[in-house]
Amino acid sequence: MERFDRTVATGMPTPMHLTEEELGWVDWQLTLPGFGLEKQYKLKSSTALVSRVGGVGSPAAASLAMAGIGRLILAHGGHVEPFHMNRWPLASTEQIGRVNPAVSAAERIRKLNPHVEVVAVPEFVSPENVQRLVAQADIVVDGAPYFEERHLLNRECVRQKKPMVEAAAAGMEGFVTTVIPGETPCIQCLGFHSKDWSLPFPILGAVSGTVANLAALEAIKVLTGYGEPLRGILLFLDGVSSSFRRIKVRRNPACPVCGDRP
């Protein structure tokens, strides 16, 4: 393979922020047509908040770290539990019952890519911390298992005009969409809620992991401007038939969160 000429590709010298060692980490993705140093620098300059590092959040955080994002804020309360282990690839057996999931994921991510700054927040997103957490991020990846928590993040992202990748998985199904406030529908526009939703829900780790990596891909696209994010599209995964549906979703002008007169 022809080596990537960093100077020619961007027309500028290698940014000081990206050391040769860091560039070595992402060498193969720099050769993606149209990606290159400029996009890598954007990724390096970005912070993502990942709400919960479970079946969706932990593989998404790992993919963002491996891609070379600059900073990750991982928010998750409680401890690693045995029933998490079918879908949480960043957790370890010896951490069960002892270690907080955000701390566990942060430790593992630092080993995956030591150039990423990882902040472990051992709390769930709540009305008390949501404003502070979203304010520190350029993008939010939402993998929470409760509608209330998802809507809380949605409201704050819309209020702060921060993009949010909304990803969920249950059973053999999942979906991903990207909320860009003022441009795309928000979660409230979709009307997703359920008073009957409860834990535990059935899930296969390969399904949540698939959704997670699509969510990471969305975040990378939004942060770098590379490719086409799912603007106004909800990508639905049917794991039974291994098929996807691209569903066109609309903003609700009367939405109480992101509407014309919220």
């Binding site: 919960r52 479970g54 079946g55 969706v56 959040g57 939402d142 993998g143 929470a144 298992p145 409760y146 509608f147 998802r150 990803a167 969920a168 998985a169 249950a170 059973g171 199904e173 999942g174 979906f175 979709l190 009307g191 997703f192 809620h193 359920s194 008073k195 009957d196 939703w197 829900f201 899930i203 949540s208 909800l234 639905f236 049917d238 039974v240 038939s241 549906r245 691209r246 569903i247 066109k248 979703v249 609309r250 609700n252």
Partner: protein, 87 residues
């Protein structure tokens, strides 16, 4: 005319298939298709499709619709997408 109905999650399991074909009269509306499925698959299906405990996305040909009173055409696919929050 014929339309398809598709769903996910618990509703899909109640129906026993991801997609079913339905024979409906001309001038059928989306809401008529939903009523038809709710009638055919029982109270639990009715609660999922038309109940107020969950917010569902109703689609025609993979496009979100705002009003379920719009008419369907021969060959259309009506979808009820149940919400999920698994992470």
């Amino acid at each position: 005319m014929q339309v398809m109905f598709s769903s996910n999650g618990k509703l899909r399991h109640l129906i026993g298939a991801a997609r079913i074909r339905m024979e409906v009269p001309a001038e059928t509306r989306v809401v008529d298709v939903l009523e038809n499925v709710a009638e055919r698959y029982g109270a639990e299906a009715r609660a999922l499709i038309l109940g107020e405990r969950s917010g569902v996305l109703v689609l025609v040909n993979d496009e979100m619709i705002e009003q379920s009173t719009i008419a369907v055409s021969d060959g259309d696919e009506v979808t009820v997408l149940l919400p999920m929050a698994g992470g």
